[in-house]
């Protein structure tokens, strides 16, 4: 069996050192807690914000006026908006400028244009702009430095693989040391755990390059770990049935579509959308935020491909766009374009809709960032009832960290059931160097095949009770085979096995929720319920798994 290297103790544990995790850890440490952050890779360059970002959703009264409701509406109408408990959106917006000021003081340039904050892009013409334009190329290094300065203990290459709980709530984690080829377990005990492991990529085949599992817009190391681990200890997930599909250049999958300043066109030059005829740094073409399926529609109806055309953009705005792409972390793409002579002033680039991934669907949190399991918090892309991407992760990470550090319980720290911990250790150890075993890639691709066909996302693809029911049965078979046959040669491969099993939990949760929502809404298209039911417009579907395995589905009103 893989050895247990050590047991650590803290007041607050943070799982994941992306934007949300680092901000949560800093807040908890500044609140006086002993904080340990456990990170899968290295916090200086991990997660979907690894190499940068350039827009931060924010309410700033000097720019937006004193009526925050105008900005609440703008956020809820944006591509980030459909599935929010608005009470959380308001809390996020109220605290957003404070976070911006902290980031600026920590060395992330939130005012790259001089003394004032500038709001640009991702907006309808003549409507308020809610995205602060910033230069986030060094954001991970700066946040890491601040976390260390605040007293956070950062443990890199130590991903959390299981959450530990007792009757009172969460009490620790089991983590896997992958810093050397020989893996080891570490247990960490604390009365507060903050989950911040990001979205779930690699759940569906990459739409552009099926079979190339790591060609994803968001970080492919984000594999729904928190959603799966929390599901396994009974936490509530919400909005899991709604697919989210990002869009961007084809076939090189990359986020940051709105950093491009151009107009979407059909091959004959006609514009896709009615919003702008010439894009500027202030107002770009928001067509694909509104007509989310446009690029897929144009392929399916034969009128495509759809191009993003920047050739009419001014030279000054093209230079500005290039700077923005560096801030956004798109230097890999820029290097490629430079090497291949692709110049946005002369070339229109085809755009496509990427495969579904989970962002803004996942753990249900309350106004303080706490999940339905006492002591367990969540922040960032894996939260299912408020979403604001980088800004959401930062601000809600901060809220969760501060709350977790307040009111820590006194007395003897709770300990998990030793038998449960041992069973987890035996389970994960069983994959190591199993003779004649199967590769994690087989299981990950098998999972994607099932999700593609039996939990498909729109447009042009449907779900139904019979397809989803079959998909759940196929997934059970795949999981059984995976648990029996997967083999890992070293710590790196064992981590991929763990990720694949976590993704299976995510896939099952998606299918259970999709079965329960008996209507079509967004990209959740049911062939057996083709209509949108107005009675479900303000209803959120939560799901959780009981200890015996029963899946509990509950409806509730959206919080205003």
């Amino acid at each position: 069996m893989i050895q247990l290297a050590k047991t650590l103790h803290a007041d607050v544990l943070v799982a994941g050192g992306g934007i949300g995790g680092l901000c949560a850890a800093i807040a908890a440490a500044e609140g006086g807690a002993r904080v340990i952050l456990l990170e899968k890779a290295d916090t200086r360059r991990s997660g979907s914000g690894a190499t940068g970002n350039d827009h931060f959703a924010c309410y700033y009264p000097p720019q937006h006026g004193d009526d925050m409701e105008v900005i609440v509406r703008e956020l809820l109408d944006s591509m980030l908006g459909p599935f929010h408990d608005a009470a959380l959106s308001r809390r996020f917006l109220k605290e957003s400028i404070g976070m911006v000021e902290r980031w600026h003081s920590w060395g992330i340039n939130m005012k790259p244009f001089g003394d004032e904050y500038k709001f640009m892009g991702h907006a309808f013409p003549d409507r308020p702009r809610i995205f602060l334009k910033y230069d986030g190329h060094n954001q991970k290094a700066a946040l890491t430095k601040q976390a260390v300065k605040s007293g956070v203990t950062i443990l890199n290459h130590l991903p959390v693989v299981e959450l530990l709980r007792n009757d009172d709530g969460v009490c620790g984690v089991l983590a896997l040391d992958v810093s050397t080829p020989e893996p080891a377990f570490v247990t960490a005990l604390a009365p507060r755990v903050i989950l911040a492991t990001g979205s779930a990529s690699r759940l569906y085949s990459p739409a552009g390059t099926p079979g190339w599992l790591f060609n994803t817009a968001f970080c492919p190391a984000c594999t729904g770990a928190a959603q799966a681990q929390a599901w396994r200890i009974g936490a509530r997930l919400v909005n899991m049935e709604f697919p989210n599909r990002h869009a961007g250049p084809k076939f090189f999958a990359r986020a940051g579509k709105s950093t491009w300043i151009g107009v979407y066109r059909y091959p004959d030059g006609e514009q896709l959308g009615p919003f702008v005829s010439r894009a500027t740094r202030e107002v770009g073409d928001i067509t694909c935020d509104v007509w989310n399926s446009s690029f897929s529609d144009l392929i399916m109806n034969g009128r495509g491909p759809a191009y993003l055309d920047c050739s009419a953009t001014s030279a000054e705005d093209l230079a500005f766009m290039r700077e923005g792409m560096i801030s956004e972390g798109l230097t890999g793409l820029l290097d490629y374009m430079d090497a291949h002579g692709i110049d946005p002033a002369r070339h229109a680039v085809e755009f496509m809709q990427y495969e579904p991934h989970l962002i803004g669907r996942g753990l249900e949190i309350d106004i303080d960032g706490q999940t339905s399991v006492p002591g367990l918090y969540a922040a960032g892309d894996m939260v299912g009832n408020v979403r604001a991407d980088i800004a959401g992760a930062a601000v809600y990470g901060w809220i969760a960290g501060r709350h977790a550090a307040g009111g820590l319980p006194g007395g003897t720290p709770a300990t998990p059931d030793a038998g449960v911990v041992r069973r987890h250790q035996e389970f994960y150890s069983s994959f190591l160097r199993r003779p004649g075993g199967a590769s994690w890639k087989e299981a990950n691709m098998g999972l994607q095949q099932i999700m593609n066909d039996y939990a498909a996302a729109g447009p042009h693809r449907v779900r139904s009770a019979s397809l989803l029911t079959a998909g759940l049965a196929y997934m059970r078979t795949l999981r059984r085979n995976a648990e029996e046959h997967l083999s890992a040669a070293n710590a790196h491969e064992l981590l991929r096995v763990v990720e694949t099993l976590d993704l299976m939990d995510n896939g099952e949760a998606v299918m259970h929720a999709a079965l329960e929502r008996k209507e079509s809404r967004g990209m959740h298209l049911r062939s057996d319920f083709t209509f949108t039911n107005p009675l479900l417009a303000d209803k959120f579907l939560t799901i959780r798994r009981e200890e015996g395995g029963a899946v509990i589905k509950e409806w509730r009103r959206r919080m205003n």
Partner: protein, 77 residues
């Protein structure tokens, strides 16, 4: 596969192996040139290229990631 290390320029510091979000590199012994062990798992985030202190790393983007494009003038005929 995707990251390519120029062994002549590499200072053998191991920073690329430490910071890669996908664990693509493996440096089994300190002060050696890291091996690109899991190239197919590269996300092409460019962290290694950006952070390498000796400019020894480039990314080789796979052929099938071809960035599809056309002459913009074709759209304005």
């Amino acid at each position: 596969m995707p990251p390519v290390i120029d062994a002549g320029k590499c200072s053998r510091c191991g920073l690329c192996a430490a910071i890669c979000p996908l664990g693509v590199f493996e440096q089994t012994e300190r002060k050696t040139v890291p091996a690109v062990r899991y190239g197919e798992e590269c996300w092409h985030c460019n962290a290694c290229r950006l952070d390498c202190p000796s400019g020894a790393i480039t990314l080789r983007i796979p052929l099938n990631y071809q960035l599809l494009h056309t002459d913009a003038s074709q759209l304005h005929r």
